[in-house]
Symmetry: C2
Subunit: 394 residues, 2 copies
């Protein structure tokens, strides 16, 4: 008897047992097949990379969530990926190096130093799709439609899609000539929607009263589609960069609605939490059953530059474990046929036939008679029994 | 222009690009389906665990190949798994905690601090099957047959199966009362088949001349099936433990040959390298194309004890990346249909229909005419073109 409980797992780390694993594997296959049917090609990036490529363009948050280890071969620091998007961007820019549009997808393990939220796994399975080489909103429309289809196929009820734009806040910050410290204070206060604090910061840091007013409008621009009209009005006199970004958003809304039909679409022009490397339009899917985004994505156009080739880029990802948990679909595991343990050639042949027809055949090891066993304890609902010279499924 | 080549990957770490990834994913699904058809249930253990559970019963080699990191939540040491067998044993003993036979399988990432051999990946994808709760050789026979079937399904040519027994060497060591240092010197010399060194060690450390002779026989017992008869003769006067182990081996050979028919079966009674936690019968599959075992397994009966429940256990695993590399089967990726980018409802409907029929439909983003594009650059071989009011695949 040992006093160490060796079966205890770290917080936010979990085993997935057979019935849940079956659900997860079924979803994994269906969703990768869905991505494939839209032209997205599977890639398998490595679990570990040198830090200086793994964290190119990543936020501080992603950096802090990445486990670091020393490479015993080179002596350099490596990171265990907390995300696959940056790896896919490296593959597009360098390893594949194709001209034109490239569509990639993946479903793979990542690791986080700390849970990213309450009840959140530190060992998620990231499933995602990324589209490179196309700068217009047509790519974003395709990805938002694919994200919606992914959640529909996975059986996630009550999905709400929220659109935003990382560029508007950034454009205002740049026009107001805020330094990095003031920007990060403001960003942080905006994420908490701490209106008094924001007003105080703006009064201290921003001289231009029109710009100050635009900031104050921005942080209140969240809600249904009417937000878009309110934003056009509030930013009518804003810089060309800001109005161009609003027009992009309107284009995307038009494209998505034409393709998806009725849709629960919302806007939040200053909700920027959790966007790790995004530069433009961002989109996320929420459901009442889950406190965080179920799926999330957007544009991250300049990232490929660090890998030798700047490429337009947009994509989204989700966590298969969360999908399996929220899915309302039933995934029943087929029950098997219990067969005796004998080396009779006729039995070997029969079992092999049944298995190649897709049946599950479980061998009862030992000499007990199959007829006397409660097959349900072996996850079976039938038996293989010899009648005369023939083996019959009963 | 930066001087850091951010696309360089560490040694033994590789991207898997679409055509290879398709092959790997196809093999993954087929082999998990094969395991399922034999009654093995999928589990998904976490990528990371506390070290004191992850390395229970593991060899020093497995320990040295495991990356260690500090858990920021608990302050305890965690390891990133280098193997899944021990995790499966923990799940059987504790998380599942079922009575009777339990069959588990998995296909998942592991990570190694250093490559385990020349040209060996540090980020393998381990695929394996484990059988718990059955102590007789019937379980080993089933696993050897499943291992052979796995390699056959994967299209690996020229497979040779090698059987051994970790227990014979251990029994002789125990009878000779060798201390840990002498045992490890001898073990190491035996693995190098350094016969002069072995003879010297035996002359110095082993008094009993019969025992010394048995050691000398053991290290020469490798080759075809005649080895088994030679072993029976050499160990005729050996302890009951040794003869029982030889009888187990004979039983297994009989069982496997009856089920698999013609088979390239070999024996090596002292090749024990790379068996990390095994206690009894061991088996491995080799092919001329690959310098190391393609698949490997055996008995590790006492491991569950550390997790609260001692259980008979036997299993094997292989690396999906190696299988994909050695496979002689062709896996062709289906080509797609190129469709224009339009939000016409009739097009949306047609594309959605084609995709749900299993077709791959790639949208040509932008306004270019589908008829003017070289479809092969988009991995397509057909186009979707509007003729009158109908969309036709051409």
């Amino acid at each position: 008897m040992t006093s160490v409980k060796r079966w205890l797992l770290p917080d936010g780390v979990e085993d997935i047992l057979p019935s849940e694993a079956h659900k997860l594997e079924s979803l994994r296959r269906e969703l990768l097949d869905l991505f494939e049917s839209w032209g997205y090609e599977l890639v398998i990036p490595p679990l570990i990379e040198f830090l200086d490529s793994l964290l190119v363009g990543a936020s501080e948050g992603l950096d802090l969530h990445t486990f670091k280890v020393t490479d015993q071969v080179s002596g350099k620091m490596m990171g265990i990926r907390a995300d696959l998007t940056l790896q896919a961007a490296r593959i597009d820019a360098h390893s594949l190096n194709r001209e034109g549009e490239v569509r990639l997808c993946y479903a793979d393990n990542v690791l986080h130093t700390r849970p990213r939220g309450i009840m959140t796994s530190r060992v998620p399975i990231r499933l995602g799709a990324e589209l490179y080489g196309h700068a217009s909103t047509a790519a974003d429309v395709e990805l938002i439609c694919l994200m919606a289809q992914t959640l529909r196929s996975a059986g996630i009820p009550g999905v709400q899609i929220v659109l935003g734009h990382v560029g508007i806040f950034k454009a205002l910050v740049s026009e107001a000539r805020l330094n990095a410290e003031a920007e990060s204070q403001l960003f942080e206060a905006v994420q908490r929607k701490a209106y008094d604090e924001i007003d105080l910061l703006l009064d201290n840091k921003v001289q231009d009263s029109a710009l100050k007013q635009q900031f104050k409008e921005l942080i209140r621009l969240s809600g249904d589609e009417s937000v878009l009209a309110r934003a056009q009005e509030a930013f009518a006199a804003a810089s060309a960069a800001v109005t161009a970004e609003l027009n992009e958003l309107s284009d995307i809304v038009r494209g998505v609605k034409r393709r998806l039909g009725e849709l629960d679409l919302h806007f939040d022009l200053c909700e920027l939490r959790g966007y790790e490397y995004h530069t433009g339009i961002v989109f996320a899917a929420y459901t009442n059953e889950y406190g965080r985004a179920v799926a999330k994505g957007g544009r991250y156009d300049q990232l490929g530059r660090a890998f030798g080739r700047a490429r337009p880029a947009s994509g989204f990802d989700t966590d298969l474990k969360v999908l399996a948990q929220l899915s309302e679909r039933a995934f029943t595991r087929p029950r098997g046929i219990l067969a005796p343990d004998s080396d009779e050639p006729s039995l070997t042949l029969k079992v092999s036939d049944l298995r190649s027809q897709g049946e599950k055949v479980v061998t009862l090891l030992g000499t007990e008679d199959v007829a006397n066993v409660d097959v349900s304890t072996m996850h079976c609902d039938r038996r293989l029994i010899k009648r005369g010279a023939a083996w019959m499924v009963e």
